[in-house]
């Protein structure tokens, strides 16, 4: 039992680190919080340039098969590269969805010509992809989607709305699930496409979040035409294709989500309470210990998962405990840290709030981390069903024609 790389892993790590040292600045406060959400032209250019460098050096598509233009490498190699890259200040988040979900789906279901046309450009960062799945009618219930696709000659005509699309405004291409048959059962009648995000009839509106930031968009489709040649999978098979996309969700390493117990400890060392430093207060210590145990429990769980990867096993749904624990921990840590600041805790101006208002920002961001990408409730269901083998919820919608599934609307 150790935390050491195998010889091969160590070798791969040192090469990766060498590449990074040579091509990127060490990470520091200044370049720490690169966010893809509100990407300006500048950030885009930097991001694409960096992706091109990675591709040339063989660090793009590490786990992709060679005939997709990938490296044919292992999952652990990907993790090792990510760990190393995490220590450098480079533009992040532009390509994860495209390379993690969209293009692999295209490569799986598309033609060789399509692979040749899209895979390499995506790896080099020439083209950015987004994913158009969620709709107002269906958040947790993805298959409730209502965006209609009507065949018209060699094209399909698309009408409806998507939501929660990251990077829609700077993406060149997108993957899309639509409903081509409203009379079929809910999970039949779906059809999957990819499309040019510059197609006429697409309108993109950013969604402003509580925190004021906009990491997501609404995307409105009005008579958008997609050639049938850009259909992936058979008509009515869209659900099956979507599953490929969701499966492909690349195993991302549990990078530290903004605030962890370490930041609360740092604060507790600074703040004076009635009876001395917060760090000496037994009530505070109890909470710090709880969060420390959760934080390190996740860290060591991640090491166990990496061990599985290192052996070539694939990690199961048990990795979903991370998000469930982190979301709630974030919210409770932020709320408690603000309590330590008393009346002054409400101040969110970084000039006056300790640690540049990190905790106030976290309080406003944390609700989304309990919802986006799988709500607490969905995650508990996943653990109960896929890990513990408990029965699925009773489904009243599965066997009904979609247009007869109750929606509560008149």
């Amino acid at each position: 039992m150790d935390f050491d790389d195998t010889t091969e892993e160590a070798e791969y790590r040192s090469q990766a680190r060498a590449f990074l040292e040579k091509n990127a600045p060490r990470r520091d406060g200044a370049n720490m919080v690169y966010r893809a959400g509100h990407a300006d032209a500048n950030f885009l250019a930097e991001g694409k340039a960096w992706q091109a460098k990675k591709a040339t050096a063989g660090y793009a598509g590490i786990t992709w098969s060679k005939d997709w233009g990938g490296q044919g490498g292992t999952a652990i190699q990907q993790v090792i590269y990510d760990q190393e890259e995490a220590q450098f200040g480079i533009p992040r988040g532009l390509f994860d969805i495209g390379l993690g979900m969209c293009v692999p789906t295209l490569c799986t279901w598309g033609t060789q010509e399509q692979r040749d046309r899209f895979a390499a450009r995506a790896l080099r960062g020439d083209e950015i992809w987004c994913q158009l799945f969620s709709e107002p009618a269906g958040g947790s219930d993805l298959a409730a989607l209502r965006m209609s696709a009507v065949r018209d000659g060699d094209d399909w005509v698309i009408n409806g709305q998507k939501i929660w699309t990251s990077g829609a405004h700077y993406s060149d291409w997108g993957v899309l699930v639509t409903r081509s048959d409203f009379g079929a059962k809910k999970h039949r009648g779906l059809t999957y496409f990819f499309l040019d995000m510059k197609s006429p009839g697409i309108e993109i509106r950013p969604i402003k979040q509580i925190s004021g930031a906009s990491h997501f968009n609404e995307v409105f489709f009005t008579d958008v035409r997609i050639p049938d040649s850009q259909r992936l999978g058979a008509v009515g098979e869209g659900w099956k294709v979507s599953l490929t996309t969701l499966m492909n969700e690349r195993y991302t390493i549990g990078g530290r989500a903004g605030v962890d117990v370490d930041e609360v400890i740092a604060l507790a060392r600074e703040v004076e309470l009635e009876d001395g430093p917060a760090m000496k207060n037994q009530g505070v210590r109890d909470k710090l210990a709880d969060w420390y145990v959760m934080s390190r429990g996740l860290k060591y769980s991640h090491f166990r998962t990496m061990t599985a990867l290192s052996r070539g096993d694939t990690p199961g749904p048990e990795s979903s405990i991370g998000k469930l624990v982190i979301g709630n921990k974030l919210q409770s840590m932020a709320a408690f840290a603000m309590d330590l600041l008393e009346e002054g805790g409400v101040v969110s101006d970084p000039k006056y709030a300790p640690m540049s208002a990190l905790f106030q920002q976290t309080l406003l961001n944390s609700p989304s981390s309990r919802i986006a990408g799988g709500s607490d409730e969905i995650l508990r269901n996943i653990i109960a069903e896929r890990v513990l083998g408990l029965p699925a919820d009773i489904r009243v919608d599965k066997d009904l024609p979609f247009n007869e599934v109750p929606t509560g609307k008149g």
Binding site: D141, E272, G283, E343, G344, V346, L364, D397, T407, G408
Partner: protein
């Protein structure tokens, strides 16, 4: 046994709700949240005209003499509506402090104007982040001059009058300060809930007079905080109840997997827990109201229990209301965050749960209140 508000006060509550439903919709709260408007001045005028601001102020000082039970039912409705007005600063804190410790002259000078709403008051204690223990406060009174910096001061930009905690040669004291004078500089401060504005106030030898004895500041503060804690608890119970109702309504109307999400036990049991927390907070607040109205010796204990329960109930209700709303819940467009922001703001006004739990247990140790 008659542990409830009188029918008259219930009628007052119904009027207040009806009025605020019309005049103080979430859109009105949003307007202040999204603008630099210090508060909803029109709404303030109207509620003052209805005598709410003077509810607990004796008639001899221009109040309605409704007593504190009346103020409690109004507080619940103002909290439910997230009313963007300086009510808590001016009434629960400034007016209460003057009623508790003012000389007849001071009462005569300020209470009628506070009652009529033409003067807005506030209480300025904190000097930045961290616990405001008497020994840690730096602001000081020399003769009739006040110097120091207070931040954050609720409604600091809008207020005409501040009651300021500051050092005197005999320990902590409270100073009455007219804020419309040269020695006072104010600056807006960004907080997590811009629907209730806060400011930083710098006093540079500002003219002031003492409120209460020079050394009596801490005792006076604690008394005012106890009284404000009960009134804030009613605002919080009102807010929690409204957040619970929002979540319940959404859970009934929003469908997933072909059924209302409110038919899933994950949602049902979450909201049941919110209901329980809200009812426990309400009952503790009622006891606080009883103690406040009678100035009972149990007030410090009752106020601490009311505050601890209310802090937790409103915050729980507000954060789980977002959760029930799912993705839409954390958008700016939906109203959930108005409650979330306010719940955390109120949970820190007059001090955190942590501090009030300690005050509660101190009462259990010292008071002879029946355990």
């Amino acid at each position: 046994m008659n542990f409830d508000f009188s029918d008259d006060l219930k009628a007052l509550r119904d009027q207040a709700r009806k009025f605020l439903d019309e005049r103080c919709s979430p859109a009105a709260v949003r307007r202040v949240l999204e603008s630099s408007e210090p508060y909803d001045a029109a709404l303030w005028k109207e509620i003052a005209a209805m005598g709410w601001t003077g509810a607990a102020i004796p008639e001899e000082y221009g109040g309605a003499g409704l007593g504190h039970l009346g103020l409690c039912v109004l507080a619940e409705e103002l909290g439910r509506a997230l009313a963007p007005v300086p009510f808590s600063s001016s009434i629960y804190q400034a007016a209460e402090a003057i009623m508790a410790a003012g000389t007849p002259a001071q009462k005569q000078a300020w209470l009628p104007k506070l009652a009529s709403g033409e003067v807005i008051g506030t209480l300025a204690v904190a000097e930045g982040p961290g616990r405001s223990t008497p020994k840690r406060l730096r602001a000081s009174i020399r003769g009739d001059r006040l110097s120091g910096e207070k931040m954050p001061v609720p409604d600091g930009a809008a207020a005409h009058l501040a009651i300021v905690a500051a050092q005197t040669d005999r320990g902590l004291g409270l100073a009455l300060v007219d804020l419309d004078q040269p020695g006072v500089k104010r600056q807006d401060i960004e907080t997590i809930d811009p629907s209730r504005k806060h400011a930083q106030i710098t006093f540079e030898g500002a003219k002031c007079e003492l409120l209460g004895a020079p050394g009596a500041g801490q005792a006076l503060l604690e008394n005012v905080q106890n009284r404000a804690a009960v009134l804030l608890a009613f605002e919080q119970v009102g807010g929690a109840q409204r957040a619970l109702e929002m979540a319940r309504d959404y859970a009934l109307e929003r469908y997933a997997f072909g059924r209302p999400i409110g038919s899933f036990q994950a949602i049902k049991h979450k909201l049941a827990d919110v209901y329980v927390a809200t009812e426990l907070a309400r009952s503790n607040a009622y006891y606080g109201a009883w103690a406040l109205a009678r100035n009972a010796p149990e007030l410090p204990l009752a106020a601490a229990a009311a505050r601890v329960a209310a802090n937790e109930a409103f915050y729980l209700a507000a954060k789980e209301n977002i959760q029930v709303h799912g993705g839409m819940g954390f958008t700016w467009a939906f109203d959930c965050h108005l409650f979330y922001r306010r719940s955390k703001l109120l949970a820190l006004t007059v001090g955190s749960t942590r501090v009030w739990k300690d005050r509660l247990v101190t009462q259990l140790e010292t008071s002879n209140a029946p355990l």
